[in-house]
């Protein structure tokens, strides 16, 4: 957090290229990983998403107050940028409560899981990635996506159910 604050303050002092590159290198791998999953593995779209997210983030960087981790704030920017690019059907889907999937210790299992995540419907995928992969709470997801917590929970259950059905 302290490092992030220092990086942000350094950048805001002069908006210099070097200061930005430090921010970029510290946080883009996380943004890109999130973007890849949210776009179903589309590298070109993920790169566009990361680029637009940095533009939005730097436009609003003065509003970042270090109350949350910079990375979480940036990921929120990215999620909102993506939402602005697409229409999402946020219908609540009734689904039974489903437990999280077991850890994917085997690399082949992880690859299967990545593919299965990519094949999820957009709304379910977004919630699943934010909750089960990146550790956001339902409250945070609801705030990020502009939905109620119940919808976030339903979408997560739906995602887990679909993943269980599609994985060997």
């Amino acid at each position: 957090m302290t490092d992030d604050r220092a990086l942000v303050e350094r950048f805001l002092r002069g908006r210099g290229e070097d200061a930005f590159r430090a921010l970029y290198r510290a946080h883009t791998p996380a943004l890109y990983a999130l973007a890849l999953r949210l776009t179903g593995g589309d590298r070109g779209e993920a790169e566009d998403l990361v680029q637009e997210s940095w533009v939005r983030a730097l436009t609003a960087l003065r509003t970042y107050r270090a109350q949350s981790a910079l990375r979480s704030w940036l990921c929120g920017v990215l999620v909102n940028v993506r939402r602005g690019r697409m229409r999402i059907d946020w219908r609540v889907v009734d689904a039974p409560d489903v437990e999280p999937l077991a850890d994917a210790a085997d690399p082949d299992d992880a690859i299967d899981l990545e593919r299965a995540i990519a094949s999820l419907p957009d709304g379910a995928r977004d919630v699943y990635v934010l909750h089960d992969v990146h550790g956001y709470t339902h409250r945070e997801i609801a705030g990020l996506l502009g939905i109620v917590e119940g919808t976030s929970k339903s979408q997560l259950n739906r995602a887990r159910f679909l993943l269980r059905s599609s994985l060997p």
Partner: protein, 153 residues
């Protein structure tokens, strides 16, 4: 929670693309002032390790010395064929035009690892004039990027 990686390194080219977009949007400023340590390093390159190509034969204009650094970064796209002759000729003509105004001091090609491909030491009345000289460098037609900074040998 699934044990999937939370970080994935994007293609290196994305960094330049993002920086260019931010510069174009006015959200990031390109480097304009080269750090003192780098200026010192450039001086070492020129005076000790560098390969001096041309030295000015004309009296220098009044003002200060500036180093114009030519970076062959990921956006650098030299003409196909790998022949430097044409590029050197283009840069030499530019140097000649500066020299007639007493604005050219010396130039060198940097050999070795890293993106710094070459540099010019020019003479300018002030920072703004130095920036104008750097902006007129034909190197930009091949991509890459150019930086300029006060040079104190």
């Amino acid at each position: 929670m699934m044990d999937l990686p939370r970080e994935t390194a994007p293609a290196p080219e994305l960094e330049e693309r993002v920086v260019s977009a931010l510069v174009a949007a006015g959200l990031v400023r390109r480097r304009r002032v080269w750090p003192a340590w780098a200026v010192a390093a450039a001086a070492v390159i020129v005076l000790v390790l560098g390969v001096t190509v041309v030295r000015s034969r004309h009296p220098l204009a009044r003002g200060n010395s500036y180093v114009v650094l030519l970076y062959e970064d990921s956006t650098y796209r030299p003409p196909p064929g790998g022949d430097n002759t044409e590029r050197i000729a283009v840069l030499s003509r530019w140097a000649d035009s500066l020299e007639t105004h007493g604005e050219f001091e010396r130039a060198g090609r940097v050999v070795g690892p890293g993106e710094l491909g070459g540099l010019f030491i020019v003479r300018a009345a002030d920072d703004a004039a130095a920036a104008r000289i750097a902006a007129s460098c034909p190197f930009k037609q091949w991509g890459g990027h150019i930086e300029v900074a006060r040079f104190e040998p």
